[in-house]
Subunit: 136 residues, 6 copies
């Protein structure tokens, strides 16, 4: 019945979130499978493929929203990976999180920054600033 | 002085939260014992025994509030157990959490759903949907 | 394309929220019409018609979630009306809001209670307790 | 002492927020003038002029953070104006707010969308979708 | 039955919140009278009279918590008045709100500061800084 | 360029947060070093050294704000240590957290209380109430 939205959503989920996203869907299978279906159909089938913002802009918005919400470390892990997948640079991601300080304060921004640090470490990413910094 | 409320609250805490609730009170003994006393007297002595909603309705409200708050995984663990104790079915609990998506978004709902998954696993509960699902 | 979900959602929106809901959709027409469409298709087409919880249970969950979120007075107005529409009694609604005190504190509960007071006044509802109370 | 940061911040505040921003600073003069100074020096002197994100990206992040926080309608008014000032299109702004639905739910997104509607109305902006929509 | 806590709470409510507090209780009479009773018995009968912090310290904590919560402007109005009632200076109140910026960001702090401005205006309070400022 | 604020902030950070604070700054070095710089310059260089509130009052406000925010356990660990460093007693800290119950509910207060319990344990602090309690 909802095949078309589901397929479009699944493709977008694969493109944006990759393995991190499919793991979430998989882990919902035996507890709330329709929740996973709604993530695919609604978030990735309805919202992500829309015109108006490109995927890099959408990930800026997503990361800012998750940073501000707080307590969403697992989702931030997935979406910081996704931000890299769609072409945001590590510097842009760290800067987007930092830009939230005036609006949501240091604690939420610190927590999100440490999630980014973990993601970058797992992907073997070294910040350019870090390289410059280590030479001083 | 507050014996009556305390006793009524303790009984209700035992009925609703069971061991999960008494563990919380116990762990407060050496740091903030009156906080534990207020949980018993106010939350369970004053609020829970009131007319107007039965215990199953109260646990729907509690789970929805904790899901929405976010960052309350330990309290959700206690109250998803409590929801089962007062007769809500696993399906009703998962559905109540899912129903919060339009109001509070996917991340808080995902976090609460994974708490439910842990609680059900510890209690050896298998979702009916899961059984059907595994046959497909 | 999405006709079936939209129609099912529109019917459910009419049944649950009535005029309050359609006003929201109408006011989105000239600024973000697809947001209105997603409210209909996703919240009311996908979530509300599901099995697992009846409409009275769903409105308990909705009111608890909106009370806890805070800053959602317009949505509470719509959904307290909706709660009455699907058969929750004024007493159950007030009690559900009150039950959130231990989880989200007095300020959010006070704000939600005053929204209920406005809704009841507009609908000419007088609380039973109020009648008893006024005789004392 | 802090002249340089203050001047850089004031210029940036004028560029980004324009009159809406200076009104806020002005209204703080007789109650908490240093709070206004910190908005200028820190938010606009330290954060906004940084490299890593351009002003259009920064306003996407700001609007997403304020939408998610909730209860920030006055700040959203200023920053939706600011988003237009730095070159985001009305469509991008509405889309950024809409993109927050999966993360923060409908109520916060509805509230932010109605703020955008007010700002656009005051500035005489008509959405392109609206024009198409009105012809149907 | 709960007379002693109620009386102790009512006295404390009168001492701390004064007319602002009793107005809230009064306005709950016909919608959720027990909610008003719990404010008196629990918040003012159980918590406020405790040792460990004096009333000025308690109001610092209260104002900080309400500022951080957001969307609690009515409660902030009552408790900024209360803070003045128990002997906090206008400067201490404004400074406590300002001190929350690093933790909760500018928007919540701006909103709380403008509530303080209204309260001070109604009570004819002029900030010392304001006097110095107006001479410059 | 910002040497003076940075030095003043670093000194204040050392005085208030001690090792817990410098660890945070250190762990930001290779991911977002300017975020660490802003914590020092803005939070500790601009805000903490201000007149209007002494350090004990500031830590009451900080702990109350972090308790209310939720999901800030790492920051609470640092700032409960800081509260002890500037002379608040364990009893005052526990009481400040407890005082937040009426405003933010039990779950956030329980989470903060258990952070305090960990901090006190690490520092070998035993609550006086605990000693009395253990004799009963």
């Amino acid at each position: 019945m909802t095949t078309e939205r589901y397929e479009r959503g699944w493709e977008k989920l694969m493109e944006v979130d990759g393995k991190g996203g499919t793991n979430v869907i998989q882990s919902l299978k035996d507890i709330s499978p329709d929740l996973g279906r709604f993530v695919i159909e609604f978030a990735f089938g309805d919202i992500y493929p829309r015109e108006g913002l490109d995927l890099r802009q959408r990930q800026l918005v997503t990361i800012s929203s998750l940073t501000t919400l707080g307590g969403c470390e697992p989702q931030l892990t997935v979406h910081i990976n996704a931000a890299l997948n769609v072409g945001l640079s590590p510097k842009e991601i760290v800067e987007a999180i930092l830009h939230c300080v005036p609006y949501t304060g240091f604690p939420r921004v610190l927590n999100a920054t440490f999630v980014a640090k973990e993601v970058f470490k797992e992907r073997g990413i070294m910040m350019q600033d870090q390289q410059k910094d280590s030479s001083s």
